[in-house]
């Protein structure tokens, strides 16, 4: 402010027509800062608003996505995990018991849905045979992103006692990517809830 009046026109950035104020042409041998630096003092008042909006906007988008939006989405996603409501074998009994009054999986926001298009997580609860394999893949592909898979029980994890049988898929990870494996034959409802909490930990660390 104390600069002489004669030097003020020299420090004012000259914006040629067609170039943007916020991203001037880079000079050679000069490192570009991550956020373009703007000499606010030299801006006209009508140039200040778009320049500040652009500078703050990139900051907000960059920082806000990683520090605000993504945690909020992860928080919302991991507290409303909707599994696909289907049962393959005896693990489905434990799966059903987990939603009863005694264990009450709904307190974690886990509500089974009957359509794969409303689901976030597919809990493969039972022995997967080759006959049902392509139906499982179809259901998985019908689920919207983001989606996760929990292999519940020994059969879905690795074929279980039927691993060498002629009709059993030796592990559902041969068909779809699996995020959490739950051991047990069948696992108790507490184990299923523990698997869901493990999946919630995975979602908490999710970056994108």
């Amino acid at each position: 402010m104390s600069a002489p009046a004669s030097s003020a026109p020299a420090t004012r950035p000259v914006v040629p027509p067609g170039a943007t104020l916020e991203s001037p042409a880079p000079l050679p041998m000069v490192d570009q800062p991550a956020v373009p630096f703007i000499e606010i003092e030299t801006l006209r008042s009508k140039e200040f608003i778009p320049a500040a909006k652009e500078a703050l906007g990139s900051l907000i988008v960059e920082q806000g996505q990683t520090k605000v939006v993504r945690p909020v989405f992860n928080w919302a996603g991991r507290n409303s995990l909707f599994p696909l409501h289907w049962g393959l074998a005896c693990c489905a009994i434990e799966f059903a018991a987990a939603f009863g009054a005694r264990w009450d999986a709904e307190r974690f926001g886990v509500v089974p849905r009957s359509s794969p298009r409303q689901c976030d997580v597919m809990i493969v609860n039972g022995t997967v045979t080759w006959k049902v394999a392509h139906k499982l893949i179809t259901l998985y592909e019908q689920m919207p992103e983001p989606k996760w898979v929990i292999a519940m029980g020994n059969c879905a994890t690795g074929g279980g006692p039927f691993r060498t049988a002629y009709s059993v898929v030796p592990g559902v990870d041969k068909l779809v990517p699996v995020d959490v494996y739950i051991a047990g034959c069948p696992p108790r409802p507490e184990a299923m809830l523990d698997g869901i909490l493990e999946l919630e930990k995975l979602i908490r660390e999710r970056k994108e």
Partner: protein, 158 residues
């Protein structure tokens, strides 16, 4: 109800294709027949003797030959009847009973895919329990347990 004389009822129909009539526990008996007389026997058993319900069809692998057996039930007589025929292992063909008893359809599909019995003139001989394109006959005694990876390669149609 009077026990039915199976030999007198089926002998004129089948002739020498009727190989034997045996007593069988908790049933009207067990009929062994030549496979060429299958349809004649089925019609006679259903229409003349009144065994109108086919309870099951199965196949057995006896290593040197295979056996196809039928279990039929009569609502009037309240008892079962067993029919059985032998087929050679290298030519396991038998006429389908689906035209006589429609419930034979799925039973024959199962016997075909698991034991390898070929049912001629079956209306819909597809895989029932194993996936389409499955190459094995897993209930044959010659079938060995495979490593999972080996099976996976051969059933990679999914």
């Amino acid at each position: 109800m009077e026990p039915v004389d199976l030999t007198a009822a089926l002998g004129p129909v089948l002739g020498d294709r009727l190989l034997g009539v045996e007593a069988f526990p908790r049933s009207a008996g067990r009929i062994r027949f030549e496979r060429s007389g299958a349809l004649d026997l089925f019609r006679a058993v259903r229409d003349s003797l009144g065994f109108r319900h086919l309870s099951m069809v199965g196949g057995i692998d006896w290593t040197d030959h295979r056996e196809v057996f039928y279990v039929v039930w009569s609502d009037d007589r309240r008892e079962y009847l067993f029919l059985s025929t032998d087929v050679p292992a290298d030519d396991p063909h038998v006429e389908s009973a689906s035209g006589i008893w429609p419930s034979a359809n799925w039973h024959e599909r199962e016997a075909w895919e698991l034991v390898g019995i070929e049912f001629d003139h079956h209306p819909d001989l597809r895989h029932l329990l194993t996936p389409d394109g499955y190459e094995f006959r897993p209930l044959l005694r010659s079938f060995k347990l495979h490593e999972p990876e080996e099976l996976e390669v051969k059933t990679r149609h999914v």
